[in-house]
């Protein structure tokens, strides 16, 4: 076991745990301590060898360990750095680190289209959250942005490369979940792109999970595109007895009335799906009778989706108060600022 302290909060974790995992353990122990958790755009605990690329999870190691207390000279990627006993880490408490992370966010955004109003991912986009928390109100980038034409990779998935931040998660899905990867990263540097090279469909029972792991709107579900804003839908937990032995059958149905608009995996508090589902469940099982409904999906109150119309209590509370509810809004803003 190793004791690690992040922003002054300590936890004992098994050897080999990364700083990011340790931070998440702190956040899971007490949600009030969630601020110690660095943002992660490319790391995905369910995908091997993920992480290290986006650099948003960088932290400052102010003390290496009890044995060797020297601080680390540069910020390190918390998702790929293992804790040492006695390590001390700054995530939100070091101004230089915050400046560096803001720099990373700015870099991620300079070529991102900022087309959130027409992007299907809006409302559940990790880059949106990240830029809200760590970004600036205006970009200093004045040059033409990199663009690509959106393409269909199969009947069910749309690839909008312009929005991609090259997190490599979908490539890892192809490698680790499907029976053979047909897409990858081609070219190099800032013209690198996710591609199948020759236009071809990605046909595999588990390819749809690429959509769930995509942190931005680069990979979207064609069966749901433009059907509804996600915050106007009602997410419910449901399961089915899927015949595919690799499919967990545990899903979220995103509903409007009795209509199932979209099916996704269930995401945990860090935005990662808990278990992967097959394409049949995701794209074809759109009849509510094909599912056993478990109840409303608990959505984090930070999320815009939680403002939907299914959590009666909250809705009534808002309706009952004289509009606009300034203290309520201010409180939420304050929470967001943390």
């Amino acid at each position: 076991m190793a004791k690690v302290t992040i922003d002054g909060i300590s936890i004992e974790v098994p050897d080999g745990t990364t700083i990011l995992q340790a931070a998440r353990m702190i956040g899971e122990r007490n949600t009030a301590d969630r601020h110690v958790v660095p943002p992660a755009m490319c790391y995905y605990s369910k995908l091997k060898t993920s992480g290290g690329y986006c650099r948003t999870c960088i932290v400052k190691v102010t003390k290496g360990s009890d044995k060797d207390p020297r601080p680390m000279p540069k910020p390190v990627a918390s998702c790929r750095t293992a804790v040492m006993d006695g390590m001390e880490v700054a995530n939100t408490t070091d101004p230089a680190l915050i400046d560096a992370r803001n720099g990373v966010v700015e870099m991620l955004l300079i070529n991102h289209p900022l087309d959130c109003p027409i992007c299907d991912q809006a409302g559940e986009c990790h880059l949106q959250d990240l830029s809200y928390e760590n970004g600036k109100e205006a970009s200093r980038y004045e040059f033409e942005r990199r663009t690509f034409d959106p393409i269909d990779i199969g009947d069910t998935i749309k690839l909008h490369m312009t929005r991609c931040i090259l997190c490599y998660r979908c490539v890892k899905v192809g490698e680790q979940l499907t029976d053979g990867r047909v897409h990858g990263v081609i070219n190099r540097g800032d013209v690198a792109e996710i591609s199948t090279y020759i236009s071809q469909a990605i046909e595999n029972d588990f390819s749809g999970n690429m959509i769930d792991v995509c942190p931005v709107g680069a990979l979207t579900d064609k069966t749901f595109r433009f059907a509804s804003r996600v915050w106007f839908t009602k997410p419910v937990d449901a399961h089915c007895n899927c015949e595919n032995p690799k499919c967990s059958g545990n899903a979220v149905l995103w509903m409007k009335g009795n209509e199932v608009l979209r099916v996704t995996g269930r995401k945990d508090m860090w935005g990662e799906v808990e278990s992967f589902i097959c394409n049949t469940c995701r794209f074809d099982r759109k009849d509510v009778n094909a599912w056993t409904i478990e109840g409303p999906r608990k959505i984090d109150h930070h999320s815009v989706i939680s403002q939907g119309h299914y959590q009666l209590k909250r809705e009534q509370a808002l309706l009952a108060s004289p509009a606009p509810n300034v203290p309520e809004l201010a409180k939420r803003k304050e929470l967001k600022d943390r």
């Binding site: 986006c54 990627a77 870099m107 980038y141 990263v185």
Partner: protein
């Protein structure tokens, strides 16, 4: 006249072939090591020599070797980094082209010390003809029994393979090189684990520069202590410097570490001074190291003569010093425009960024665009501060050192030549002329300015 350890016989007839090389004392280190020494003893000599990695980082070679993990039943590899791509650097090409057997010999002796049965020389793709020369040398060595099974009856087996790249500066980064050698994209790996533990094919691996491995030959022949007698402090032995730019005598020189910078740049034995005008600036170690004004290259901040050593070149830190780097030396005369050169540097890094991590992928292109604008008379004063801020956001925040390498030339150019950047904003029309050169309005002598 300095001692020559690597280049001693370079002009001898037939030195490129095995016969000529052998006639001049070649392969003695293999005989000595395999017949009379243990692997540990070879390592000990390398440690004693104080040899530091000649590829750019200057990490002590003996220490690097001693980190090599040695789990039972797992092969170990030596990989020679001949992906020489750092602008300004062409020493390894010269060495391999002229005297290929010294690298073969060094690889055998070093592999014996490391316990590697197979070693690879990864040569950049553009040097295809050099790879042919190396292959030829390896074939000769194999035919003569210097490679293969049970070399010299010692029980040590060794094979060397030459691998060619295909055009990617990033493959000079050791983990990107290993990826490329495994037949993948040259994306640097995230460390740890380091190659000494998990390198080529997940096996313990040492990656060394061509010159480093060649230097093992004289170290084993004459002893580490003898080698360490050359040089000053922690800069021991000789170093190959490839010199270019606006000097009279471009070429590759083997210098004793510790000669003065003035001697190197101005004496007729080496660079021979400026090519007709006056020196303005120097990049002593390849494009990644900070550019410094000529006067600052000659003198340390305390006014002493600066020496060609790792320590002396970096004296004064980034504010007033630079680095030895890989020994890719080039000098600028006063007809050269620093903004244009910085734009050129940045375009290079933009082109060579692998694209894995965000600050380098996006930041290098951004810097290039801002610099292009400045160079073409379309910039604004704020652009200079913007550039400073972008490079600051890249440095230290990337997976591999390419980010730093892209940031330092920009930072140092602004630090020392800010007036030229400002001139590009205030004299937009003048700099639009492609033949403009930024001389008259600027310094006559170096300012030891910090930014």
């Amino acid at each position: 006249m300095g001692r020559k350890l690597l280049f001693q016989h370079i002009d001898k007839p037939g030195i490129r072939g095995l016969e000529g090389y052998r006639a001049n004392g070649g392969y003695r280190s293999v005989e000595k090591a395999l017949k009379t020494m243990s692997p540990e003893a070879v390592l000990e000599e390398v440690k004693k020599s104080g040899l530091r990695g000649r590829g750019g980082a200057g990490f002590p070679t003996g220490m690097k070797w001693s980190f090599l993990a040695k789990p039972e039943g797992v092969p170990r590899y030596l990989v020679v980094n001949a992906d020489e791509s750092e602008p300004g650097t062409f020493k390894d090409r010269y060495l391999m082209e002229r005297i290929p057997h010294i690298l073969v010999e060094g690889m055998i002796t070093s592999s014996f010390a490391l316990g590697a049965k197979v070693s690879y020389a990864y040569i950049r793709g553009e040097y295809f003809y050099v790879a042919r020369i190396m292959e030829q040398a390896i074939a000769e060595a194999r035919a003569a029994g210097w490679l293969g099974k049970n070399i010299l009856g010692s029980g040590f087996d060794h094979e060397i393979h030459v691998q060619v790249g295909a055009g990617a500066y990033i493959c000079g980064e050791e983990t990107a090189l290993l990826e490329s050698l495994e037949g993948k994209r040259g994306n640097p790996r995230i460390k740890p684990p380091f190659p000494a533990v998990k390198g080529l094919y997940d096996c313990p691996t040492v990656v060394n520069n061509v010159e480093t491995i060649a230097a093992v030959v004289p170290i084993v022949n004459d002893g580490g202590e003898e080698y360490a007698k050359i040089g000053i402090g922690k800069s021991t032995g000789t170093k190959l410097i490839s010199a270019g730019g606006n000097i009279k005598r471009p070429g590759v020189y083997e210098i004793d570490l510790g000669i003065t910078c003035d001697e190197f740049i101005n004496s007729d034995e080496y660079c021979g001074g400026v090519d007709g005008r006056a020196f303005k600036a120097v990049v002593p170690g390849g494009s990644s190291v900070p550019i410094v004004p000529y006067e600052m290259f000659l003198k340390t901040p305390t006014g002493e003569n600066r020496l060609m050593t790792y320590e002396s070149l970096s004296e004064g830190g980034f504010a007033q010093g630079t680095m030895m780097g890989s020994g890719g030396f080039y000098a600028y005369n006063d007809a050269q425009c620093i903004v244009r050169s910085t734009w050129n540097h940045t375009r290079f890094y933009h082109h060579e960024s692998c694209g894995q991590c965000s600050p380098c992928r996006e930041g290098t292109g951004w810097m290039e665009k801002v610099l292009e604008r400045l160079e073409h008379g379309e910039g604004r004063t704020e652009d200079i501060d913007l550039l400073w801020d972008i490079q600051r956001k890249i440095e230290g925040n990337t997976i591999c050192p390419l980010g730093d390498a892209a940031a330092w030339p920009v930072a140092s150019a602004i630090r020392h030549f800010r007036d030229e950047f400002e001139y590009h904003v205030t004299h937009r029309e003048k700099v639009k002329d492609p033949k403009h050169f930024a001389r008259e309005p600027f310094r006559k002598s170096a300012k030891f300015a910090t930014a």
